[in-house]
Symmetry: C2
Subunit: 391 residues, 2 copies
């Protein structure tokens, strides 16, 4: 099977490496015959090119791996490849979250496959696990640590008492965080992964209009305060379903020290799902990184090579976002002046004057109030409190 | 697809329930048409019978689910079903560990499938995960909590300071432990699961001649002593590979309080594997229980229905058990008289006079010494010490 790789960054070159090393009988049947690089970049390999048309018009190319990231031109190139009868495998969560329904339809019309295991959970086979669970159960809950960079930051703040800024710098030095870390720390990355997982689970293309609150404002003192509650903070995406109603939210959550989430260290991911017969199922591993993510890309390629079809989704279910199915307790740190917004809402103030404990509030309502709070105190931070029973 | 179930205990009736409820399009295509029960037992359903020949000679039966447990007659019945051209799916770890190579060959000769996901890790899709990882990586290490009963006992001793006997009784009351708990607490159950996993990983039918030390002798005081070391004890099966050399061992291991194993509570399982490109991968879930295990059985049935072939293994590799690749530190509680066996071996005695810390000893050697120790002090207990770097 001949493969063209679009983009030759970390993941693209990782896919190339695994295919070239061809360690198993299966991977020996794969050949990278074309690599698309950016116009003006030096062509360091004879089969590099900078024109997508050279690839889609090459009848020898069977499959296109897209690892460019971002929406455009990835979106256009994926559609072009599918329309030219090439299978497409991608690691690009942004473009999958936005267009999975269109890609799916286009692949079907052209009798080729469109797979994207690497887009969610990196090397963790969580899409495969989800699709497998869905063959028998309705999956009524997915939650987890879907972002290694933010987990590295929160885990190191917790374990070493360092400040957000210091850990971020360390993460950037180690190559875990980008120069502009906003996609990781403000939750857009996680948001895409949640949309992809929830869309598969519900057979409905979940829109991105759900509450997201990031970790940019967390301080050393916040972490110490959570410690005094015997809690550890993690950045969590979660979705819950009840019949045709669902909720999605991305926010920091406080876990008990004995919860697996609280013990998910460094840049690891931990992805959980729940079904009636399977119960709780959790997958832990490298949610990012060159070879682990490339492994997931090559797994999808091997599925196509072996004719192992993934679950068919049409995304035609009717689902309704329901703000009432997700209520939680929150800890909020904000200037006292913000308390005016919480009139008529149950809350306690802590001995540390800065913190408020808000009881049993709708998640959507709390995120709306937080927007007002941030206008008064742009440094404010909040986290919800995890109870095993009612995530 | 018509299914016959052999054995109508917890798992057999769970499979029946999932198939009858037929929640998804796929499970709707399954029909249980025969159930084999023990001779003399009351036939509570019209399609129950007590003669295996009625089942294997029924041309309408496509697939046989074996959930009787134990070696015989399961072994004979599975071979009979395969020889009569029926696919076989089993949850029976004892018979799979002993005969997986024979079953595999027999299935191939008769052009049917023999699958056994439920035999290892209950509802956790760890065989699927292992086979998937093996498509790209050599899996050089598998370890984990493979037994819910022993984990329930150790976790509750650790968290509530109860004695082994008290927790065992509680586990029996809850239905987690059998009246005769020896398979769970002496490690035979785990031993079978390790053999199955290692055999798939190494494409070699791993024999059962490796060291096994159970948890029967653990006391409240042991657990308190481990706590004073900031360690939590778990019952672990592990295998490691280096080229054509491997080791397998089943023993209690002391984990740091922040290790995921130490936070695997109640009767949950946690199964870990490592490969060069995928890194560390861990699967957490219900390792036993009616519906979770039945879910795994039905997953195998659906794979056969959908034509999703599992990895082909011939078990023809040449591997060598090597005692030198696995060395560890141990904590030993034993009568002082036993120290005579440790002449010439590096050890420290603790402030608590009963405990010895033995440094960097071959696992096989330690298990041999432990046999001698138990002759002098039949109440002795030992556990090795986990370091993330060198399991």
């Amino acid at each position: 099977m001949n493969i063209a790789i679009l983009g030759y960054g970390t993941i693209g070159s990782g896919v190339h490496q695994i295919v070239e090393e061809g360690a198993t009988l299966l991977t020996k049947s794969l050949h990278v015959t074309r690599i698309l690089i950016r116009k003006g970049k030096e062509k360091t390999l004879p089969y590099m090119c900078d024109d997508i048309d050279d690839i889609v018009n090459d009848p020898a190319v069977d499959l296109v791996v897209e690892t460019m990231g971002g929406i455009e031109p990835a979106h256009t190139y994926i559609l072009k490849a599918l329309e030219h009868g090439k299978h497409v495998v991608t690691a690009n969560k942004a473009v999958v979250a936005a267009y999975l329904k269109d890609f799916n339809e286009c692949a079907k019309e052209n009798n080729v496959k469109f797979y994207y295991e690497a887009s969610t959970g990196g090397g963790i086979p969580c899409i495969a696990g989800l699709e497998k669970a869905l063959r028998i159960d309705e999956v009524d809950e997915i939650h987890g640590i879907f972002n290694g960079t933010s987990n590295f930051i929160l885990d190191h703040m917790q374990r070493y008492g360092t400040s957000f800024e210091e850990v971020l710098k360390e993460a950037q030095r180690l190559g875990y965080a980008e120069a502009d870390p906003s996609a990781d720390i403000d939750g857009y990355d996680v948001c895409n992964k949640l949309r992809i997982s929830a869309s598969i689970a519900y057979d409905y293309h979940v829109p991105d209009n759900f509450p997201v609150f990031g970790i940019r404002n967390i301080t050393k003192e916040d972490v110490m305060y959570f410690k005094s509650m015997n809690r550890s903070v993690r950045f969590i995406a979660k979705t819950k379903r009840d019949g045709d109603r669902y909720s999605c939210v991305v926010e920091p959550i406080l876990f008990k020290e004995s919860d697996l989430e609280a013990n998910t260290q460094d840049n690891y991911n931990l992805i959980s799902m729940h079904g009636k017969t399977i119960g709780d199922l959790k997958f832990y591993g490298q949610g990012a990184g060159k070879l682990a993510t490339a492994n997931a890309v090559v797994q999808d390629i091997l599925d196509i090579l072996e004719g192992k079809e993934h679950m068919e989704r049409k995304y035609e279910n009717k689902m309704k976002y329901d703000t009432t199915i997700c209520r939680r307790d929150y800890v909020l740190r904000a200037d006292k002046a913000c308390r005016v917004y919480f009139k008529g809402i149950k809350y306690e103030t802590s001995t540390f004057d800065k913190y408020m404990l808000i009881k049993d509030i709708e998640v959507m309502k709390m995120h709306e109030l937080m927007k007002k709070v941030l206008e008064v105190d742009p440094t404010a931070f909040m986290a919800s409190i995890y109870e095993r029973e009612d995530l």
